[in-house]
């Protein structure tokens, strides 16, 4: 069994890394417009946000407000019309495995087994020599070990050789998470990863994600529309105003001790306070979709 992800981080550890790299991911004055038949449509304006290393940030807002657009910008799948995005002090100019994405609809390749889906990314990242850090190319055995470890991390060792069509929705999403984590990304980007799952499966995967993130000390940016999910998982909740031309309306710092437990938090006044703050923002301050000026 691989021990890559077995180290538990203590709360003070994380606080230290976060303080050392407060601007691990840095978004400066980003604006995004799309060209449509009726002219330019402004999706995002004036987005300034920095994410510390090891921090878990969720983006929340009504549908169509541009949360996914912002995530795509961080992923590099789209480039901003204005402003810059930096990851570890380097400009984001395109997609890459150091910013792995867990897609909403899992996006596993249906003709590959779970193992092969994960292996595809592992092979790309670790199968070639990395000149920048002087790491040699890893052997096939090492690559396979990494893949097995990632599948074990999400509890799918038994289903490794099944095709995506043969497993449940929750399991597919777990493979998606394994594929992303196996590449050891600097930032893990998740686009409503549990949105398509039923409530019980979603809760189970949220708990697993909490545990995995604790173990891997990942930096995570996650898009969600689920208030409880945001409060349960995040260090910070970034709330976007309604589109068009959405921007960051408010940010909630979540000071809840980790490890967090869904059950004990349910009656925690602090938790309920955060929850209320987010709900107030979403349903009182941003309840109506602004009309295009």
């Amino acid at each position: 069994m691989n021990t890559r992800w077995q180290s538990h981080r203590s709360v003070s550890d994380v606080a230290e890394t976060m303080a050392l790299h407060p601007k691990f991911l840095d978004i400066q004055g980003v604006e995004q417009s799309f060209k449509t038949a009726k002219g330019w449509f402004p999706a995002l304006r004036n987005i300034n946000l920095s994410v510390a290393r090891g921090e878990f940030v969720t983006l929340i807002g009504h549908s169509g407000c541009g949360k996914s657009t912002l995530l795509n910008l961080i992923a590099g799948l789209a480039l901003p019309t204005q402003g810059t995005l930096l990851c570890a002090n380097r400009e984001i100019s395109g997609p890459g495995p150091e910013r792995a994405v867990v897609f909403q609809n899992h996006s596993l390749l249906p003709w590959l087994t779970c193992f092969e889906n994960v292996y595809l990314g592992v092979e790309r990242v670790f199968g070639a020599a990395k000149k920048s850090i002087g790491a040699p190319a890893e052997t096939k055995t090492q690559l396979r070990e990494r893949t097995d470890a990632a599948l074990a991390l999400v509890g799918l060792t038994a289903a490794a050789h099944k095709r995506p069509g043969e497993i449940s929705g929750g399991m597919k999403q777990r493979v998606g998470i394994a594929r992303a984590l196996a590449m050891e990304p600097k930032v893990l980007l998740m686009d409503e990863p549990f949105g398509a799952l039923d409530a019980l499966t979603r809760a189970k995967l949220q708990d697993e994600l909490l545990d995995i993130v604790t173990r891997t000390q990942s930096t995570v940016v996650m898009v969600t529309h689920d208030v409880d999910e945001a409060v349960l998982l995040s260090d910070r909740i970034v709330m976007l105003t309604n589109g068009p031309a959405a921007t960051i309306g408010d940010i909630v710092q979540v000071h809840l001790d980790r490890p967090r437990s869904r059950v004990s938090l349910a009656e925690n006044p602090q938790y309920l306070g955060y929850r209320k703050a987010v709900i107030d923002f979403l349903y009182t301050r941003q309840s109506h979709v602004e009309k295009v000026a």
């Binding site: 997609p95 495995p97 994405v101 897609f103 390749l109 249906p110 595809l120 790309r124």
Partner: protein, 281 residues
């Protein structure tokens, strides 16, 4: 296990349950096709009787078929060979013409699917040439290749290439953006993108193209061989017409139908084996 469960449930006197033979299911699945075939034979017999035996009836044709199929691979000179040889020659022409069409058509389809420029460049050409009956190309083939056999293969090539190009191009254009995003995030090499994403995603479309192409080719070869002569099932039909051997013509119709059916079923089997749940939707 089920036996012990059954005995505890209904006492020691009960015998182990044997599933009753599903007569009803068999009835519904076997009877209609038999009735259909029976109807065909009945109409055939009726036509044969009313035409004053200028069209042979099912019984004599059946007897003739038995003697014919007892020795399908005989050779008595270039114009008198067994039905087996004729079918094999036709299949060989279809395979050659179709194979060449696949070699040219699949890469062309990929290029057209990937590039808007090429797609706009070739679409008018395809739209113009596709409706033309492939037999119209036969004289050109005879002129260029100076031989009946290559001209027939050329005709098959022309009729097979359009479905191959069009279906491959459509498949490439319909590769889900999600898969391409995965490729971009994983930063896959062009080779990996083609082998791990594009090709498997396009394969079901390509196989549809193959099925349509082979189906058309089998239709066209009979007509082409009637014109070109040589050994082949189409020529055989024409030859038997010249001999006024109507029984053999009817047998040929059945043989052509059977071979077409087998080709179609084999290709459908192949296509389902390579179609994945997510691609279908």
């Amino acid at each position: 296990m089920s036996e012990s469960a059954a005995s505890t449930a209904s006492g020691p006197a009960a015998s182990p349950p044997t599933p009753a033979f599903d007569w009803r299911g068999m009835w519904l699945h076997v009877l209609p096709p038999i009735l259909g075939l029976g109807l065909l034979v009945a109409i055939w017999a009726l036509v044969s009787i009313t035409s004053g035996s200028s069209i042979p009836g099912p019984l004599e044709t059946g007897n003739q078929a038995l003697t014919l199929f007892s020795d399908p691979f005989y050779r008595k000179g270039p114009n008198d060979q067994g039905v087996g040889w004729n079918v094999l020659m036709s299949l060989q022409r279809v395979a050659l013409g179709f194979g060449l069409a696949a070699l040219v058509g699949i890469p062309t389809g990929f290029l057209i699917g990937r590039s808007t420029f090429l797609s706009r460049m070739f679409n008018p050409l395809i739209s113009l040439l596709r409706p033309v009956s492939p037999l119209a190309w036969l004289p050109i083939g005879l002129l260029v290749f100076k031989g009946a056999n290559p001209a027939a293969i050329w005709t098959i090539f022309i009729c097979s290439i359009w479905p191959m190009i069009i279906n491959t191009a459509v498949g490439v254009q319909r590769v889900p953006q999600d898969y391409l995003n995965v490729a971009r995030v994983l930063n896959l090499s062009e080779w990996k993108i083609v082998t791990k994403i594009l090709f498997p995603a396009v394969l079901p479309y390509m196989l549809t193209g193959v099925r349509l192409a082979v189906g058309t080719a089998w239709l066209v070869i009979v007509a082409a061989e009637m014109l070109t002569g040589g050994v082949g099932i189409g020529f055989w039909v024409w030859d038997e017409w010249n001999n006024l051997n109507v029984k053999n013509i009817i047998i040929a119709i059945f043989v052509i139908g059977m071979v077409g059916l087998v080709l179609e079923m084999a290709l459908i089997k192949l296509a389902t084996a390579f179609t994945f749940e997510e691609v279908k939707s």
